[in-house]
C-alpha cells in the first residue's frame, strides 16, 4: 500500500493535482473568510441604520408623550412579526418592560452601540427551546435614569457556523471536482501521451524499429517532440536498413573471393613444387590484397559517414588537387587509349579534407577510365573545375556506356555494380565513398549523361562543393 502510494506520487499528474488542490484549498478558505467578514460588516451596517431609525422614532415618541408614548411605541414595535429587541430597564439592570426575558449583565451600563454581539433570552419562547440568542443593540439613557435597549436578533450562532461550514463544504466539493478535471486534462491527456511515448520507445528498444511515436496532429509540444523523435527514428531505420543491406552485400561479395582464395590454397597444396604452386600462391596474394582493399574501403566509408574526420577540415586548394589527380591518372588514361583533358580553373579553394577529396576524385577518374576503356565513342575524358552559381564544381565526363537514369541512385550504394558479371576489377565501393565524402563536405554528387544524343550517353559526375559566402 505504502509503495503503491509512493509509486502514485511518482506520477507527475498526481503531484500536480495535489499541488493544485492545496492551492485551491488556500484560495477557498481565504475567499470564505473574506466573504464572511465582508457580509458581516454589511449586515451590521444595515442593522445599525434600521436601529438608528427606530431609536429616533422611539425618542420622538418619548419627547412627545412622555413615558406613556415611549411604552406604547415599544409595545407596538414588539408586537410586529419578526420584531427585534425592545427593553426598558432600570439603571440596576432590572427589565421593566419589553419582549426579552434576560440579557447579558452589564450591557446596559453604557450608552451607544454594543461593541460585540451579546447573549439574551427571548421572552415568550416556547419552553425547551431556550437556547441563547445573539443580538446587537443601541442603548440610550432617559432623563429619568431608565435605559432603553433597541436591538436586533443576530440569530442562532450555531446556524451561522453551520452556514460557514456549508460554504466550506461547497468550496471543497468544487475543489475536488476541479482537481479531478485538472488530473483528467494533465494526467489523462498530456501525461497519458508521455506514457504512450515511453511505451512506444520501449517497443523500439525491444527492436521494433518500424514503431513510431504517436502524433495527435495538434502541433503542440508533444507533437513536435514526437515529430522530431520520429524523424530521428526514420534516419536510424534507414541507416539500420543500409547496414543490414551492407552486411548482406558484404557476406555475398566476400564469399566469392574467399571461395576463390580457398580454392587457390587447395591448388597450391595439390600443385607440384615450382610453377603451379607458385602461380597458385601468387593468386592467393592478389586475392588477399583485393579483400584487404575491400575492407579498407568499407572502413573508410564508415569513418567518413560517421563524420569523425570532419575535425580535419580546412581550406584546401582544390585546383591543385584536381591537377594532381589528373596528372596521376593521365598516363593510365593514355595506356587505356583515352585522352585525359584538363580544364581546371586556377586557385579555387573549398573547405574540406585534401586526402578525401583527392581519393574521391581519383575514384571517379579511375571509374571513368575503367568503364570507357575500349568502348568509348570519343576517347576524350575531361576533368574540369569551375566556379558556378551552385558552388565549386569538379566534374569528370566520359563517353563510356553511362548509367541509366533509373539506376543513378543505386550505383551510389555499397557493392552495387551495374556490371553484373563483375568482369571489371573493383570493389563496388568507389562511388559509395565519393557519395560519403560529398556528404561530409556538405556538397552534392550529381550523375548525368555526357552526351544524350550519342548512342553511348557517357557519364558526367559532378562534385558540387558549397562555397561560404563572404
Amino acid at each position: 500500500m505504502a509503495t503503491q502510494l509512493r509509486l502514485m506520487f511518482k506520477s507527475t499528474a498526481v503531484r500536480l493535482s495535489a499541488v493544485y488542490i492545496l492551492l485551491f484549498a488556500l484560495c477557498a478558505a481565504f475567499l470564505v473568510f473574506y466573504v464572511t467578514a465582508l457580509s458581516e460588516r454589511l449586515l451590521t451596517q444595515q442593522t445599525r441604520e434600521a436601529l438608528k431609525q427606530e431609536v429616533a422614532d422611539v425618542q420622538r415618541a418619548y419627547n412627545g408623550n412622555g413615558m406613556n408614548g415611549l411604552l406604547r411605541s415599544l409595545e407596538r414595535r414588539a408586537r410586529q412579526p419578526g420584531a427585534g429587541l425592545y427593553i426598558l430597564a432600570s439603571p440596576s439592570g432590572e427589565i421593566l418592560a419589553g419582549n426579552v426575558a434576560s440579557i447579558e449583565p452589564g450591557i446596559i451600563d453604557k450608552e451607544g452601540w454594543t461593541r460585540l454581539p451579546f447573549r439574551y433570552d427571548p421572552y415568550n419562547e416556547a419552553a425547551g427551546n431556550n437556547r441563547p440568542h445573539l443580538a446587537t443593540a443601541h442603548i440610550f439613557f432617559l432623563d429619568n435614569g431608565l435605559r432603553v435597549v433597541i436591538g436586533r436578533d443576530l440569530g442562532d450562532p450555531d446556524r451561522f457556523r453551520a452556514l460557514v461550514r456549508r460554504a466550506l463544504m461547497v468550496a471543497l466539493a468544487i475543489m475536488g471536482g476541479g482537481a479531478v478535471i485538472i488530473w483528467f486534462f494533465i494526467g489523462r491527456n498530456a501525461l497519458k501521451r508521455i506514457d504512450r511515448m515511453s511505451a512506444a520507445s520501449k517497443k523500439i528498444m525491444a527492436g521494433d524499429l518500424s514503431e513510431r511515436l504517436p502524433v495527435v496532429g495538434s502541433g503542440d509540444e508533444f507533437d513536435r517532440l514526437s515529430g522530431s523523435l520520429n524523424a530521428m527514428l526514420d534516419r536510424i531505420e534507414k541507416l539500420n536498413e543500409g547496414l543490414r543491406q551492407v552486411s548482406d552485400n558484404i557476406a555475398h561479395d566476400l564469399k566469392t573471393p574467399l571461395t576463390r582464395l580457398r580454392n587457390k590454397a587447395a591448388d597450391a597444396l595439390a600443385g607440384h613444387e615450382g610453377g603451379d604452386r607458385r602461380a597458385a600462391l601468387e593468386g592467393i596474394i592478389s586475392e588477399s590484397d583485393q579483400l584487404i582493399r575491400t575492407f579498407n574501403a568499407l572502413l573508410m566509408i564508415s569513418r567518413v559517414e560517421a563524420g569523425s574526420i570532419a575535425a580535419e577540415m580546412q581550406e584546401i586548394d582544390i585546383s591543385a588537387i584536381a591537377a594532381d589527380s589528373a596528372e596521376l591518372y593521365e598516363p593510365v588514361a593514355e595506356e587505356a587509349g583515352l585522352v585525359l583533358e584538363m580544364d581546371i580553373a586556377p586557385d579555387l579553394k573549398v573547405k574540406g579534407n585534401r586526402e578525401l577529396v583527392g581519393q574521391a576524385l581519383s575514384n571517379l577518374i579511375d571509374n571513368a577510365i575503367k568503364y570507357a576503356e575500349g568502348v568509348a565513342t570519343d576517347p576524350a575524358l575531361k576533368v574540369s573545375l569551375r566556379r558556378e552559381a551552385a558552388g565549386v564544381v569538379l566534374s569528370i565526363a566520359d563517353h563510356g556506356p553511362g548509367v541509366p537514369e533509373a539506376r543513378r541512385e543505386d550505383v551510389l550504394k555499397r557493392f552495387v555494380r551495374l556490371d553484373e558479371s563483375r568482369t571489371k576489377p573493383g570493389t563496388g565501393l568507389g562511388l559509395s565513398l565519393v557519395a560519403a565524402v560529398m556528404d561530409l563536405h556538405g556538397g552534392k554528387l550529381e550523375l548525368d549523361a555526357t552526351d544524350t544524343k550519342s548512342a553511348q550517353p557517357g557519364l558526367t559526375v559532378r562534385m558540387v562543393f558549397p562555397v561560404e559566402k563572404a
Binding site: 601468387e282 592467393i284 584487404i292 577510365i369
Partner: protein, 252 residues
C-alpha cells in the same frame, strides 16, 4: 588465417629471399610492441626469415622500458595497447630522447588516425589489415633511414646518376629528360636503392596521397619512368618485386 598465409607466401617469395641473402643488409634489430600474441608471433617469425631479429613487448609499459633501455633500428608500435597506449609510449620515448624510427600499426587506421599518430612522434603509419610485404618494406626503409646520409647530393645506382642540386638525371653519362613527377619518383626510388618500396609508399611519398589506389596507376608511372631510364631490357636497374613493389638496384 589470411594474414598467416599472406605472410608465409610473401616471405617465401624469392624477391624477399634475395634481399635476405643480400650482404648489403646488415643485421637489423627491431622492437615489436603488440598485444595480439598471435599477430606478434607471426610478425617476429616473418621478420626473422627476412633477416631481421625482433624483440617483443606485449604491453605499453614493458614496451616503453625495452624501447628506452635497448637500442633498436626501428620499432613497431600498436596503437591500442594494455597498460599504456601506443601514442603515449611514443611520446614518452621521444621525451626521453629515443629517436628510433617508429612505425605505428593501427586497427582504427584512417586519415585522421595517421595524422594524430605522426603528430605524436611516429615516423610512419600502417593501418590494419596490411600485407606483411608492406610492413617489411616500410620497416627496412625506416631502419635504413637512420644511417642514410640525407646530404648526399648525387644518388648513384650503377651508371644511373641523379643530381639533387641541378635535378639532372644521367644514364651512362647521357642526360635523361624527366617530368617533375618522374624525377621525384626516381629520386625516392634511388634514395631507397636496394630496398623494396611498395606502391602505397610511392603514392605517399611522391604524390602525397595516403590511400590505396584501386588500380595499377603507380605501375603505369613506373613503366613510363622505366622506358626513359632503362637501356638494357635484359638487365634492368628498376625491378618489379612481385607481390611487394619495386626496387632499384644494380646487380653489377
Amino acid at each position: 588465417m589470411t594474414q598467416t598465409d599472406m605472410t608465409q607466401a610473401t616471405v617465401n617469395d624469392p624477391g624477399c629471399a634475395e634481399r635476405t641473402a643480400d650482404a648489403m643488409v646488415p643485421h637489423m634489430k627491431i622492437l615489436v610492441i603488440e598485444d595480439d600474441l598471435d599477430a606478434a608471433a607471426y610478425m617476429i617469425k616473418a621478420f626473422r626469415e627476412a633477416g631481421i631479429s625482433a624483440d617483443h613487448a606485449s604491453d605499453g609499459e614493458s614496451g616503453l622500458f625495452m624501447g628506452s633501455e635497448n637500442s633498436y633500428d626501428a620499432m613497431i608500435v600498436d596503437r591500442m595497447l594494455p597498460r599504456r597506449d601506443g601514442l603515449s609510449v611514443i611520446a614518452e620515448l621521444r621525451k626521453r630522447g629515443v629517436n628510433t624510427p617508429v612505425l605505428i600499426l593501427s586497427a582504427l587506421g584512417q586519415v585522421d588516425d595517421r595524422v594524430t599518430g605522426l603528430r605524436a612522434g611516429g615516423d610512419d603509419y600502417l593501418p590494419k589489415p596490411y600485407a606483411f610485404s608492406e610492413l617489411l618494406a616500410r620497416i627496412e626503409v625506416l631502419a635504413r633511414r637512420k644511417g642514410t646520409p640525407e646530404q648526399d647530393m648525387v644518388y648513384r645506382v650503377g651508371d644511373l646518376e641523379l643530381d639533387r642540386l641541378s635535378h639532372e638525371v644521367r644514364r651512362a653519362g647521357k642526360e635523361v629528360l624527366l617530368q617533375p613527377r618522374e624525377y621525384r619518383l626516381l629520386e625516392y626510388l634511388m634514395k631507397n636503392a636496394g630496398q623494396v618500396v611498395t606502391r602505397t609508399m610511392l603514392l605517399e611519398n611522391v604524390w602525397d596521397y595516403h590511400f590505396d589506389p584501386q588500380t595499377n596507376v603507380i605501375d603505369v608511372h613506373v613503366s613510363r619512368l622505366r622506358s626513359k631510364i632503362e637501356i638494357d631490357a635484359e638487365k634492368p636497374l628498376l625491378k618489379t618485386i612481385r607481390g611487394a613493389g619495386y626496387m632499384i638496384k644494380d646487380d653489377g
